[in-house]
């Protein structure tokens, strides 16, 4: 098959991009039916492509073969400095009829991004599209992050280990809650994650905890040993998070947005118990689906969450040039 011709993306391509994305999402839902059915509709998919296209600084490409548009790719920078001089290709930012074509689309788009000094590239790819993942991998992208999904079970098996309890957080124990909060970023700065995300300070964590406790918008389950918080799981409706208010978020899902255990209590069973308690809470709250995400390079979390039944739905891949 000859290489496609590649042109800049423009408003004129939104309709066909919506159709391509809807087709990709339809394939995705055949493997992962818990994802939202809405994006199988080309009009809804088009709106999501347009949202990505309207992000400040967005640019992209389309692939054409014999006058027929066979793929598109859109990237846009995220303003948060934690991502470096970046371009993100969001979940709605690419769809192709032939997986190999994404390499041609990226080649042209990335030339401009690197020319602008944006050398750190992120892309969200359906985990079920093995050939598409291979195409990205052959552009030197590696796995960085996974977005997992699972059903909320009808009944949960909450077995709290001896000496532990599961309960809500208390304002008077905020210093211990800060310890739990900081345990995750501290772990992810180590090998083999080597996260470049800055560890927030105790003061920032205290401020965040006090706000969270006052707002009561999150459901937080604390695992405590002898009264001391040693682990914390936090849930919000998926539609409340900007990260999951798109193709990544199923309709009416619970989002496990944070989970952390102090190092000395990892392997104690309190994490499993908190996860089961979270399922029990979600079922009671009327949720049928739960999502969460983890660093693939975090050996602990990348093994823990799949064992809890979470299936990767999207993978975030990363390439830094050089």
């Amino acid at each position: 098959m000859p290489a496609p011709s590649v042109e800049p993306f423009s408003d004129a391509h939104l309709d066909v991009a919506g159709e391509l994305l809807a087709a990709r999402h339809l394939r995705h839902r055949r493997v992962e039916p818990l994802l939202s059915a809405r994006y199988e509709d080309p009009a809804t998919a088009r709106a999501e492509v347009e949202r990505v296209w309207r992000i400040e600084g967005a640019s992209g490409t389309i692939a054409r073969r014999e006058e027929h548009v066979v793929g598109y790719l859109i990237g846009a920078p995220r303003p948060n400095p934690v991502w470096g001089e970046n371009v993100w290709i969001e979940a709605a930012g690419h769809a192709v009829e032939v997986a190999e074509d994404v390499r041609d689309l990226y080649a042209v788009a990335a030339a401009a991004w690197v020319e602008e000094g944006r050398s750190q590239h992120y892309v969200l790819v359906p985990a079920s599209e093995r050939v598409l993942l291979d195409a990205w991998w052959r552009l030197s992208f590696g796995q960085q992050h996974a977005h997992g999904i699972r059903e909320v079970p009808d009944s949960a098996d909450v077995r709290v280990p001896d000496g532990f309890e599961i309960r809500g957080p208390r304002e008077e124990e905020v210093e211990q809650l800060i310890d739990v909060d900081l345990a995750l970023p501290d772990h992810q700065q180590r090998s083999p994650v080597f996260s470049s995300l800055a560890v927030w300070s105790r003061e920032e964590s205290r401020e965040e905890w006090l706000k969270t406790l006052a707002d009561q918008e999150e459901t937080i389950l604390i695992g405590a040993r002898d009264g001391r918080p040693v682990a914390g799981w936090a849930y919000v409706p998926a539609e409340r998070s900007s990260e999951t208010r798109n193709l990544l978020g199923p309709d009416h899902a619970a989002f496990l947005g944070f989970a952390s255990t102090l190092p000395e209590f990892r392997g104690s069973g309190i994490g499993v118990a908190l996860t089961e308690a979270g399922f029990a809470w979600a079922a009671q709250a009327g949720y049928e689906v739960m999502i969460t995400d983890w660093r693939v390079t975090n050996l602990l979390s990348s093994r823990f969450w799949p064992r809890r039944g979470f299936r990767p739905a999207f993978l975030r891949l990363y390439r830094s040039i050089p």
Binding site: Y106, A111, G142, L299
Partner: protein, 282 residues
């Protein structure tokens, strides 16, 4: 499964590591039988690992009885502050174990300022390849292999002569320039000065072990291929070096004729050139 016990690699691990590498190579040869059979022998595999461990700056880890990862820095500016996990530098009973081994080894490498990591992995071992993908490695380079068959010399392809040097000098830098572009973004900056390139071409043309090939269209030189004995290939070592093989060391085609079949014809010519050198694999 509990996390494995990982400890610094030492001579005491060489025997077990040799057995693990031999087992990995035997699996590899089931998929790619052209690779050298001798590394299926634990003693030969052990020798390769021992050579790596003896290299300056080498360090590694072992999971007792289950796996090993050994990295060696390459003293070459092209690769940045690097560590190379060579083809013999890793093997494990369970592919997932490679992630634990890498985590332990990489902590030290990054602490030492070596942040660019390269690993050579058997391409047919999907689970092992995925394990490396899941510690955020992407694919950068492929090492290919094929049989050499008896084929006629294609039209327009022939052995180079000193009269071709100017044409080769025109074409030779094109590959490096192409690879500096998107999406390769190679940061290699070692394009030879013209005089240095001329001397290199003269030396290779004079070397009877090297097959220097060119392709012409309408009397104009449009492609050049260099075929050399495998033992001249520094990047193909240990289990990645097949026996009785030649190495297609360099190939460049004028952009004006890319897609015209010139490269394919030249490769056929290269295959033939390699075969005439009493080798069976390219």
């Amino acid at each position: 499964m509990p996390a494995p016990l990982v400890e610094p690699f030492s001579d005491a691990h060489l025997d077990a590591a040799g057995e693990l590498l031999a087992a990995r190579h035997a699996r590899h040869r089931e998929a790619e039988p052209l690779l050298a059979a001798r590394y299926e022998q634990p003693s030969a595999a052990r020798e390769e690992i021992e050579a790596l461990v003896g290299s300056e700056g080498a360090s590694g880890v072992a999971a007792i009885r289950d796996g090993e990862v050994v990295g060696v820095p390459r003293d070459d500016n092209d690769w940045g502050a690097n560590i190379w996990i060579e083809a013999a530098g890793h093997a494990a009973d369970d592919p997932e174990l490679v992630r634990d081994l890498y985590a332990a080894a990489a902590a030290r490498w990054v602490e030492g300022g070596r942040t660019r990591h390269y690993a050579l992995v058997p391409a047919g071992d999907d689970d092992l390849v995925t394990a490396w993908f899941r510690v955020s490695f992407g694919q950068q380079h492929a090492h290919g292999i094929r049989e050499l068959n008896s084929e006629p010399w294609p039209d327009g392809a022939r052995l180079a002569t000193p009269e071709d040097i100017e044409g080769i000098i025109r074409i030779a830098p094109l590959i490096l320039r192409h690879q500096a572009l998107s999406p390769v973004f190679s940061d290699r900056k070692d394009e030879d000065e013209e005089e240095a390139l001329r001397r290199e071409i003269e030396d290779e043309l004079a070397n009877p072990d090297v097959g220097y090939l060119v392709a012409e269209v309408d009397g104009r030189l449009v492609g050049t291929f260099v075929v050399a004995p495998i033992d001249m290939a520094g990047a193909h070592t240990g289990p990645a070096r097949p026996d009785r093989s030649c190495f297609l060391a360099f190939a460049a085609t004028d952009p004006a004729v890319r897609g015209s079949g010139t490269g394919s014809r030249s490769r056929t010519h290269a295959s033939r050139g390699g075969r005439s050198a009493a080798t069976r694999r390219l």
